[in-house]
């Protein structure tokens, strides 16, 4: 098993963006190196309730990389995000120009040697720093990591595309939602609306609505038709009277009415997620993404959140991504529906 690589000019910065997020979420972080990509992964238990992983193309992070293992040249290790953060911050701080990283075994006491990731940097000062590891992970553990990595972005009928400011606003709002409710009802519509609502025992209702977000794929976008009113594909067959058409008149109704309307038309994808879960998921906004995609996976089993970095990545928009998968709160659902109907 061999791993030795030279960071690209942006490689350290990329890792330094993501490591703090994992550090905030949990005490453990798995790193998976494959011939094509690098993944920083936290599973459900490690992150406190969500599956989150940053995926980076190997070429984005490393200029040169030597990777050999008996397991299809994949290596997985587990480390403390805090110590990785410290090393990466140091590398950025010391303005290192040439950074190498390798997997080593170092003798810490006579007879016992432990694995480390050794960062060797040259610049104004030359520094060698070690990050202690658990691992390398065995074949099964690596497979588990791959399962998490590959699970995302499937079975999501459509995505809402939030720009940076909207993502930050959503994060800020959810941060405050904590004081009111433990569960947030998250709803997306094909008309490009995102609704986040929570309530406290029926006494306090609190919500944030965002309209006009992009819908991906574009073929699912119903923004125009929802505004035009009447002419929409989803409105045509219902034969509703002129008085209740969505569209311009809809402007006068409140966000709750609009959400109810979308639900009634089957236009909304709804999922209940824990306020804490959602807040933790949105903490990825600290990595300075260009935009975020939100999607309720088919049948509302979970909610997917993807942070995109578009032109920030040298190797194209798909070179870097941060994916989050949130579980939904299923137990509460029935109760909440009953409450709503009261």
């Amino acid at each position: 098993m061999k791993f030795k690589a030279t960071f690209s000019s942006v490689g350290v910065q990329w890792l330094e963006r993501f490591a703090p997020i994992f550090d905030k979420l949990g005490k453990e972080l798995s790193v998976l190196f494959t011939p094509n990509s690098i993944h920083l992964v936290q599973n459900h238990a490690e992150s406190g309730g969500i599956e989150i992983h940053a995926d980076l193309l190997k070429d984005e992070v490393f200029d040169a990389c030597l990777l050999q293992s008996a397991n299809d040249n994949k290596i997985g290790v587990r480390l403390e995000p805090a110590s990785l953060c410290r090393v990466l911050r140091g590398l950025v701080g010391s303005e290192a120009t040439h950074v190498e990283v390798k997997l080593i075994k170092r003798e810490v006491a006579p007879g016992t040697s432990l694995p480390f990731l050794c960062f060797d940097s040259k610049g104004v000062v030359d520094v060698v720093q070690d990050v202690p590891l658990a691992g390398p992970l065995n074949r099964r553990e690596v497979e588990d990591l791959e399962t998490i990595v590959q699970a995302n972005v499937v079975d999501v009928p459509y995505w809402l595309c939030l720009d940076r400011a909207a993502t930050e606003a959503a994060h800020a709002a959810v941060e405050r939602f904590r004081a009111v409710g433990d569960v947030v009802e998250l709803a997306t519509t094909k008309a490009g609306s995102l609704h986040l609502t929570t309530n406290k025992g029926g006494h306090v209702a609190l919500g944030a609505e965002l309209r006009g977000a992009g819908v991906l794929p574009a073929s699912e976008d119903r923004y125009e038709s929802s505004r035009a009113g009447g002419g929409g594909a989803w409105d045509g067959g219902t034969g509703r009277g002129t008085g209740t058409q969505p569209g311009l008149e809809d402007e006068s109704a409140g966000p709750c009415e609009r959400l109810a309307e979308s639900k009634a038309c089957g236009e909304a994808s709804v999922a209940n997620v824990g306020t804490r879960t959602l807040r933790r998921s949105l903490s990825g906004v600290a990595s300075n993404p260009s935009r975020a995609l939100v999607g309720v996976a088919g049948h509302g089993r979970h909610v997917e959140l993807v942070f995109r970095y578009d032109r920030q990545a040298v190797r194209g928009p798909d070179a870097v991504g941060l994916m989050v998968r949130m579980p939904v709160e299923e137990d509460d659902e029935l109760e909440r529906w009953e409450e709503d109907s009261d």
């Binding site: 606003a169 004081a179 406290k200 006494h203 306090v204 209702a205 923004y223 109704a253 009415e257």
Partner: protein
Amino acid sequence: MAKRGRSRSPRARAVHAAVMDDFVLDARVEHIRNFLNVLSVVKLSKKQHVNVSVSERGVTFVAVDDSKSLQAQANFRAEVFSRFRVNASAAGGTQGPGGTGATSFAGSFGIALGSLIDVLSVFAPMDGEAELSLRWPDRDGRLVLAAHVERGNPERPLQSCTHAAVAATERDDGGGPGGGDIVFRGETNAFTLPAHGLKEIVDDLEWPNAPMAIEMSSDPNVLTFSAAGQEIGELRVDVDARDGRGLTEFACGVNGRWLYRHAFAKAATALPGALLGPTHDRGGGDGVDAPTMTRVAIGEGGMLKVVHLVRLSRAIPHFGGGGGGGGFGGTATGGGPGSRGTPTQSATPRAPASYVVPVTFVAYPEVEMSDGEYDDFGDEVDSES
């Protein structure tokens, strides 16, 4: 008073035509953060209930602490809001006594202040970007809050709307407007000083863990704050009350010494930094930079009244602060040298750049007893509540 009509949504009208033609209160708050700050000051206990009364002159939040001997009140006058519309006729059955025509009283409701503050904190980051709309009641009698922000290209603007509804709670005093209030009357003594000064004094006197005494006498003018604890001994703060010195106002009709529970004094002076204003007058002379002033009055039976004249400035800095001298602060109209306001006198014909919100606390005095008795008394009050 700004009073502009606006047609309600056709839908809402259709649904509620018979029940409710309109909201009784329809107001817009421009400075959300300060609005939140002021309400936080009024919050005396963890589960604070407030009565909100709405009249054409403004909105008043009244909170009484659990022992019913401290009352906090924030009065947002109509001109504080960027839009303020009251429709008393929409109040229907909720009309309070004496609410017919002669008075401007339009309705009142109770609300859990903690919930309102939790909700407002979601809106606070939008300060300066959006206006907060406050409406009451919706069809369930709730207070409805909303704020809209729109940006992006006009073809497909990104519209975000934050919305909330807080249920009104049962009024627990059963009275009409002002019912159950602690009434302050018969003012004998008063003095005015910057809020931060008073806050510092009260904070300093926390140490002895004893009731705080205010002692006043005239000729020569004396103003002393003190607290005497068993272990610490007595701590005194003498304020220079001679004419033309530290205090803006000093009136002493009755010489005497009054005791107040320190917790009350602390609650009554605990303004957050944002509401204290600059801690020293920068001498700009335009009043906008002046520190928040506090007027303390002592009335019949030693009742204490503390009024903070909290200034809500516009969230977005406006030029031409010269207009600000009008409201409060006759003290600050002297016009320091090098005043920077002059070139923009004509800039804001529309209103002063800031408004004053009086935040008032009224507290009963502490009856003087020996220490042991005092403790018993305190326990008794707590267990009652």
